[in-house]
């Protein structure tokens, strides 16, 4: 773990690169089709967060793709929360708060419940970004300078 490179070994990094794609696609799929198949925004968000946790562990906390994502974490979580609240508030245009106000397509298709899809994606953003931020802060915090996650010594 302690080497010039950030993150884990090359083997882990190569495998992680391939698996990451699958994890992220799976997370999006679970969230997108949450109203048709088991799953939903929460599960999808946790899967996405798992993906970024893998990226952080494999490629390092400071230079990897997860570090770039971390800059946007607060904005993404806020966007998710605001989208959820906005969708719920727009329900007033159709009657009452939290009313599913969007038009509906055929049953058993993605468009069968657009309201639920958007809300699921909002929850995905919120949970994914929130859990990943929690992971970064709880686990990778540089409490002792020169910590395990980068091996570069003093910042």
């Amino acid at each position: 773990m302690r080497s010039d490179r950030d993150g884990l070994s090359v083997i882990v990094q190569v495998v992680a690169r391939w698996i990451l794609v699958l994890i992220l696609v799976y997370g999006l799929g679970v969230a997108f089709f949450g109203h048709l198949t088991p799953g939903g925004g929460f599960a999808g968000g946790v899967v996405i967060a798992c993906g970024f946790v893998l990226a952080t562990l494999a490629f390092g906390g400071r230079t990897g793709p997860a570090a770039a994502f971390y800059r946007w974490v607060a904005s993404l979580e806020a966007l998710g929360a605001m989208t959820y609240l906005g969708m719920a508030a727009l329900g007033w245009t159709a009657g009452h708060f939290m009313q599913a106000w969007t038009p509906r397509g055929d049953a058993f298709t993605l468009a069968s419940a657009p309201f639920l899809v958007v809300v699921n994606l909002a929850i995905l953003l919120k949970v994914g970004a929130g859990l990943f931020a929690g992971f970064m802060v709880l686990v990778l915090f540089d409490r002792s300078a020169g910590s395990l996650h980068d091996g570069k010594g003093e910042a």
């Binding site: 302690r2 679970v30 949450g34 109203h35 048709l36 198949t37 088991p38 799953g39 939903g40 929460f42 599960a43 946790v46 967060a49 798992c50 946790v53 562990l57 906390g61 400071r62 997860a66 570090a67 971390y70 800059r71 979580e77 929360a81 959820y84 609240l85 719920a88 939290m98 599913a100 509906r104 397509g105 049953a107 058993f108 069968s112 419940a113 309201f115 639920l116 809300v119 929850i123 919120k126 929130g130 859990l131 931020a133 929690g134 992971f135 970064m136 802060v137 709880l138 686990v139 990778l140 915090f141 540089d142 409490r143 002792s144 300078a145 020169g146 910590s147 395990l148 003093e154 910042a155």
Partner: protein, 198 residues
């Protein structure tokens, strides 16, 4: 089917006790992970794939975080032997809890056979009313949307609180959105939790 469920439940209880009793920190964390996976299998057998998926992914991320945290504390062994009195008190409390639970369960409707309730209506009308083929989602996000909004708020507040406290403890200012520790790293001395240098 019942035998499998009871066996799995007993396995979960044993695993939980084992996780509590282990003194090796990493082994305890892994045991907790095993218990979580068993719980998700239990959910799957009970016909709740939504909960099973959520349980699996939450377990994965929680165990990852805990392993990472456990290997960073610098403590490999935790806990100390308990006195006989503590063990007896614990067993007594457990017995009372089980007795009360058995009495309470006797008053409930039979397992898997609820009394007539709104759930019948949800099952019958969910697809027509919300357009969602997954009844769980239709209930969680539509019929009971308020609950989910409240739950989302709880997560938001919990994570915001964690971030504020942890950043403050570690002296991270997060001025320009750098990853944790990228700004001037101040070692945590006040709470006495400072990990030894590896």
């Amino acid at each position: 089917m019942d035998a499998i469920l009871i066996g799995l439940a007993a396995f979960l209880v044993l695993g939980s006790v084992a996780a509590l009793e282990m003194t090796h920190l990493l082994s305890a964390v892994i045991t907790i992970g095993v218990v979580g996976m068993g719980l998700s299998i239990l959910f799957l057998l009970l016909g709740a794939p939504d909960i099973a998926i959520t349980q699996v992914v939450v377990e994965v991320i929680v165990v990852t975080v805990m392993i990472r945290a456990a290997t960073r504390t610098g403590h490999e062994e935790v806990g100390r032997p308990r006195s006989v009195r503590t063990v007896l008190a614990g067993l007594g409390a457990a017995l009372i809890l089980v007795g009360v639970a058995l009495a309470a369960f006797a008053a409930l409707p039979a397992f898997g056979a609820p009394r007539r309730s709104p759930s019948d209506w949800y099952l019958a009308e969910a697809l027509r009313e919300t357009g969602a083929a997954n009844v769980v989602t239709s209930i969680v996000l539509d019929f009971r949307g308020y609950d989910t909004l409240g739950e989302a708020t709880v997560i938001l507040v919990a994570i915001a609180g964690t971030l504020v406290i942890a950043r403050h403890l570690a002296g991270d200012r997060m001025v320009d959105g750098d990853p944790p520790g990228a700004s001037a790293a101040t070692s945590l001395t006040s709470s006495g939790e400072e990990a030894p240098r590896a």
